[in-house]
C-alpha cells in the first residue's frame, strides 16, 4: 500500500521561499466551486435556470452578511470574503433547497447559516457545525411547506423568476422528489416493485456530483477517507435492510443515486472545518454519516436526511478525534 504522503505530494519544487504549497485555502474553495458545475448543470437541464437565481440570491446575501458581521467584529473584510468560503456555503445551500422556493427562503437560510453557523463562532475555521447544513435544517424545520415543494418540470427563466419572486403561483408545477414519493408509497403499503425505479433527473444530478467529486479527489482537494466511507455506510446500511426485506426497503443503488447522497459524500461531509481530522476518525465519521442517512430516510420523519446526519456527526467530532489519535513515534 502506498503511503498517503507519497500519494498526495508530488515532487514539489522549492521556489524562492518555502511557499510552494500546491494549493492554498482560497484555491481549495474555488476548486470545490468549479467541481459543482456538472451537478448544477444537470439540475439546470432538467428543471431550468431557477437554481441559478437561487445561487445568485444566496451569494449576494452571504457576502453582505459576512461583510456586516466582520465589520461588527472589527476584522478586516477583504481577506475573509476573498477566501470564498461564504460563497461556497451559499452555493451549497442554494442547490440543496427546491429551486422554485420563494426568494426569502434562500435569503433567510443563508443569513442563518452565515451568522449562526460561522460568524458567531469566530469565522472560518472555528465553527463546529457545517454552516450550509445548519441553514438547511433551520429552513426545513421552520418552513416545511416551501422546503418540500420541488419542481416537477422544466421551467423557463421568466417563469422561474416570477415564481421565485412571488409573482405567479406555483400550483401545478410542484411534485415530490422520488425519495418523498417512495417514502409515502411505502407508508401506504405499496411494495418497492410497484413503485418503480430511480427518477432520471435524480440519477443524472447525482452522477454529475459524483464526477465533480472524483475530480476533487484527483486534484487532491479532498481526501479519500470521507467520501469512500460515507458511500460505504450508505451501501452497508441499505443492503442490510434490503436483504432483510426487499419488498419494503429500497436498494443500495437507489439510496446512492437519490437525494443528496453524492453531494453529501463529496461536498458537504468533506467540509474540513467541521469534519474529523485524524485519518481513522474520518473513516468513522463518514461511515456513521452514511448509516445515519439511510436510517433517518427510512425511519425518520423527513424524506432526505443528509443535513441531520451531518449535523449529528459534527457534534461527535471532538470525541472521535480524541479516540482515534495515531500512535506517536517512540511512545
Amino acid at each position: 500500500m502506498r503511503l498517503w504522503s507519497e500519494l498526495t505530494l508530488p515532487k514539489l519544487i522549492i521556489k524562492k521561499k518555502m511557499q510552494a504549497s500546491f494549493l492554498n485555502t482560497n484555491q481549495i474553495m474555488r476548486q470545490v466551486i468549479y467541481a459543482l458545475v456538472l451537478g448544477v448543470g444537470a439540475q439546470i437541464y432538467f428543471f431550468g435556470l431557477s437554481v441559478l437565481i437561487q445561487i445568485l440570491l444566496g451569494c449576494i446575501t452571504a457576502v453582505a452578511t459576512e461583510a456586516i458581521f466582520l465589520r461588527l467584529r472589527g476584522q478586516a473584510i477583504k481577506p475573509s470574503i476573498s477566501d470564498g468560503s461564504a460563497i461556497l456555503t451559499a452555493i451549497l445551500l442554494a442547490i440543496s433547497i427546491p429551486s422554485i422556493a420563494p426568494w426569502w427562503v434562500i435569503v433567510l437560510g443563508v443569513l442563518f447559516a452565515i451568522i449562526f453557523g460561522k460568524q458567531i463562532f469566530g469565522g472560518l475555521g472555528h465553527n463546529p457545525f457545517n454552516p450550509a447544513m445548519l441553514g438547511y435544517a433551520f429552513l426545513l424545520i421552520s418552513y416545511p411547506l416551501q422546503m418540500t415543494q420541488w419542481p416537477s418540470e422544466f421551467l423557463s427563466i421568466t417563469h422561474a423568476s416570477e415564481t421565485i419572486f412571488g409573482l405567479s403561483s406555483i400550483d401545478g408545477l410542484t411534485g415530490a422528489t422520488k425519495l418523498d414519493y417512495v417514502k409515502t408509497q411505502l407508508m401506504m403499503g405499496a411494495s418497492i416493485k410497484e413503485i418503480g425505479s430511480i427518477s432520471i433527473s435524480q440519477l443524472w444530478i447525482n452522477i454529475g456530483f459524483l464526477i465533480g467529486g472524483i475530480y476533487l479527489l484527483f486534484r487532491r482537494v479532498i481526501l479519500w477517507q470521507i467520501p469512500i466511507s460515507l458511500l460505504s455506510g450508505v451501501v452497508v446500511m441499505s443492503s442490510i435492510l434490503f436483504l432483510m426485506d426487499s419488498n419494503h426497503y429500497a436498494s443500495s443503488i437507489f439510496h446512492l443515486l437519490s437525494g443528496a447522497t453524492m453531494l453529501a459524500a463529496f461536498f458537504i461531509a468533506t467540509d474540513p472545518v467541521s469534519a474529523s481530522t485524524t485519518p481513522l476518525g474520518r473513516i468513522i465519521y463518514g461511515f456513521l454519516i452514511g448509516i445515519l442517512i439511510v436510517i433517518i430516510r427510512v425511519y425518520g420523519g423527513y424524506p432526505d436526511a443528509v443535513a441531520f446526519a451531518v449535523l449529528l456527526l459534527n457534534i461527535t467530532v471532538p470525541l472521535i478525534d480524541f479516540y482515534t489519535q495515531p500512535k506517536v513515534l517512540g511512545k
Binding site: 504522503s5 514539489l12 522549492i14 485555502t25 469534519a275 506517536v328 513515534l329
Partner: protein
C-alpha cells in the same frame, strides 16, 4: 528487513544538485569572532586576555562542566576584543565573543602529541578526553558534545553515521565526503574501535551518487556498511533514521544511547578523526552558501569565527534587500543582516531575495499537517492548543516530541507558520516549569523560615518558663533558707533573752 521508508515527511526537489558543488578551501580570514556560548552547556569562560598572542588550535575558553567542550582559536594572531557581539540566534541577543586578528602565519600549537595512528593502543578514556579537549561537538546542527555522547553510548552495538543531509539545499556534507572519503572511513574505524560495536552503517540519500561512489571506492572494511536510502526530507532526523535503518523506535524522552545506538553526523566523524589521529582540534567546517540571491551556490571550507560578510565575498551576490537564513530552508532561523560569524553548527547560509511576507489565514482543519508529520503527531491539535496557550493539553498531545522539521508549515494551505507556534509553546513550557520550581523553592524557604521563627519563639518561651521555674525554686529555696536563718536567729535571740533573765535573777 525494516522498510526503508517512513510515514510522513516530504519529497522535495533539491534546488541545487548535490553532485556538482565541490568543496573549496578559502584563504584565512583577517579576523575571527568566536562565540563563547555554544549551543549546549553554559557559557565558556575566556582564558586569554586582550593583547595576548594565540596560536591556531590553542584553547581560548573553557567550561567548568566536564560534559562540555572548550573553544579554540581558529587562527593565530592577537586577541583584540572580548566583548558582546550579536549571536546568530533568533532572539537577536548579544553574547560574549572573543575576537582574534590574524597575523597571517597560521601558526599551530604542537600537534605531535596525542593518540596519532596508534590510537588503538590508547585507552578509551584517553580518546574520549582527547575528543573533549579538541572541542568536538555535533556538527549536524544540534551541537551536542561528542565525547559525552560517545561515553553515554559506550558498549553500543550499532553505529549510525548520518550522511543523509536530508534538508534540501544543503550540500556541505556531500562535498566533505567527496573531498575526504578516506577520513570518513577511517574515522568510522576509530569509532568502531572505541565503542567495540559490531557494525557501523553510513546512511546516505540516493541523490548523492558521487559521494556514494567515492565512499564505496575506499571502504574495504566489512564491518562498515554503506546504506543508500530514498531521498526524502526528514530521513536524516536521528529517531526517524534509527527506525528506518534498524526498525528500533527510540522511546519518547530517551536518546539513541538508551537503545545502544551511537548516531553521529558525518562531519563530526571527520572532525573526530582529525582530533584523534592528527591531533588537530575543531577549528574549521564546511559551509554551504546558496539562495536565490546568489548566482552560483558554493561549499566553502572556512575557519570557525569567520564573518558572514567574509564568506559572502567569495560568491556573486545580487543587489537588493535580502533575507538571510541560517541552517536550511525548512529548519533555518531568520537573521537580520549579515553581521554574524560562523560557529560550530553553522552548516549553511541562505541569502534569498527579499519577498513580501505571506499573510497567514485561518486554519481550515484540513489535516494536511497530520499526514506529513514524520513523528506522527497531530500538528493541527498542537496548533490550536499553542494558540490558546493551553500548554497542559499540548503536552498531552506530545508537544516535546516535535522535531521542528517544518513539514507541517510547508504544506499548510493557509500558510500558518506552525513550527513557530510549537517553538513558542516549548519555550513557554520550559519557562512555566522553571517558574513552578522556583515558586516551590521560595515557598519551602518561607515555610521553613516561619517554622524557624516559631521554633525560636517557642524555645525562648520555654527558656523563660524554665528560668521562671528556676527562679521560683531559688526564691523558694532562699525563702526556706531565710526562714531557717530567721528561726535560728530567733532561737539565738530567745536563748539570749533566757540567759539575760537567768543572769538577772
Amino acid at each position: 528487513m525494516p522498510n526503508s521508508n517512513f510515514k510522513g515527511g516530504l519529497k522535495i526537489e533539491n534546488p541545487y544538485p548535490s553532485n556538482e558543488i565541490d568543496l573549496i578551501r578559502i584563504p584565512l580570514p583577517d579576523k575571527v569572532v568566536l562565540p563563547m556560548q555554544q549551543r549546549i552547556g553554559n557559557q565558556a569562560i575566556p582564558c586569554v586576555n586582550i593583547g595576548e598572542h594565540v596560536l591556531t588550535g590553542q584553547i581560548i575558553a573553557t567550561i567548568d562542566d566536564d560534559r562540555c567542550a572548550p573553544v579554540h582559536a581558529s587562527i593565530s594572531g592577537t586577541v583584540t576584543a572580548i566583548g558582546n557581539h550579536v549571536y546568530a540566534h533568533q532572539s537577536g541577543l548579544k553574547g560574549l565573543c572573543v575576537t582574534i586578528e590574524s597575523d597571517g602565519n597560521d601558526e599551530w600549537v604542537d600537534t605531535s602529541i596525542g593518540c596519532t595512528e596508534n590510537y588503538k593502543a590508547c585507552l578509551p578514556l584517553t580518546i574520549y578526553d582527547k575528543i573533549r579537549i579538541s572541542g568536538i561537538v555535533g556538527m549536524g546542527g544540534a551541537g551536542f558534545p561528542t565525547h559525552t555522547k560517545m561515553r553515554l553510548a559506550a558498549g553500543c552495538k550499532n553505529i549510525i553515521i548520518n550522511a543523509t543531509e536530508c534538508e534540501p539545499g544543503i550540500t556541505c556534507d556531500a562535498a566533505l565526503m567527496e573531498a575526504y572519503p578516506t577520513k570518513v572511513i577511517r574515522g568510522v574505524e576509530v569509532l568502531l574501535h572505541i565503542t567495540g560495536a559490531e557494525k557501523a552503517i553510513i546512511a546516505i540519500e540516493d541523490d548523492k551518487q558521487d559521494s556514494i561512489n567515492e565512499l564505496n571506492k575506499y571502504c574495504n572494511n566489512e564491518r562498515i556498511e554503506i546504506k543508500v536510502i530514498p531521498t526524502k526530507y526528514t530521513s536524516g532526523a536521528e529517531k526517524i533514521l534509527i527506525k528506518t535503518l534498524l526498525g528500533i523506535e527510540v522511546p519518547s524522552g530517551k536518546f539513541a544511547s538508551d537503545v545502544d545506538i551511537l548516531c553521529l553526523n558525518v562531519a563530526t566523524v571527520v572532525a573526530m578523526f582529525d582530533a584523534v589521529v592528527e591531533n588537530r582540534p575543531l577549528i574549521s567546517r564546511a559551509v554551504t552558501l546558496a539562495g536565490s540571491a546568489i548566482k552560483e551556490p558554493k561549499n566553502l571550507q572556512v575557519r570557525l569565527g569567520a564573518t558572514y560578510d567574509y564568506l559572502l565575498s567569495f560568491v556573486d551576490l545580487e543587489e537588493g534587500s535580502h533575507k538571510v537564513t541560517m541552517a536550511g530552508l525548512m529548519m533555518g532561523i531568520n537573521l537580520k543582516g549579515t553581521d554574524y560569524s560562523v560557529s560550530k553548527n553553522t552548516n549553511c547560509i541562505f541569502i534569498d531575495k527579499a519577498q513580501e511576507s505571506v499573510v497567514a489565514q485561518e486554519c481550515i482543519r484540513c489535516g494536511m499537517c497530520n499526514t506529513v508529520c514524520p513523528v506522527e503527531l497531530l500538528p493541527q491539535q498542537l496548533y490550536w492548543f499553542s494558540k490558546s496557550e493551553n500548554i497542559e493539553k499540548a503536552m498531552d498531545y506530545n508537544l516535546l516530541d516535535c522535531i521542528e522539521c517544518g513539514c507541517c508549515s510547508y504544506v499548510c494551505p493557509s500558510n500558518i507558520p506552525l513550527v513557530n507556534y510549537y517553538q513558542f509553546s516549548k519555550a513557554l513550557y520550559k519557562k512555566q516549569t522553571l517558574e513552578k520550581a522556583q515558586i516551590e523553592k521560595a515557598r519551602e524557604r518561607f515555610e521553613f523560615r516561619e517554622m524557624r521563627l516559631e521554633r525560636n519563639k517557642r524555645e525562648r518561651a520555654e527558656l523563660m518558663e524554665a528560668k521562671k521555674i528556676a527562679l521560683k525554686e531559688k526564691m523558694a529555696k532562699d525563702k526556706a533558707q531565710k526562714e531557717k536563718i530567721d528561726a535560728a536567729l530567733e532561737r539565738v535571740n530567745a536563748a539570749k533573752i533566757d540567759n539575760k533573765e537567768e543572769d538577772a535573777s
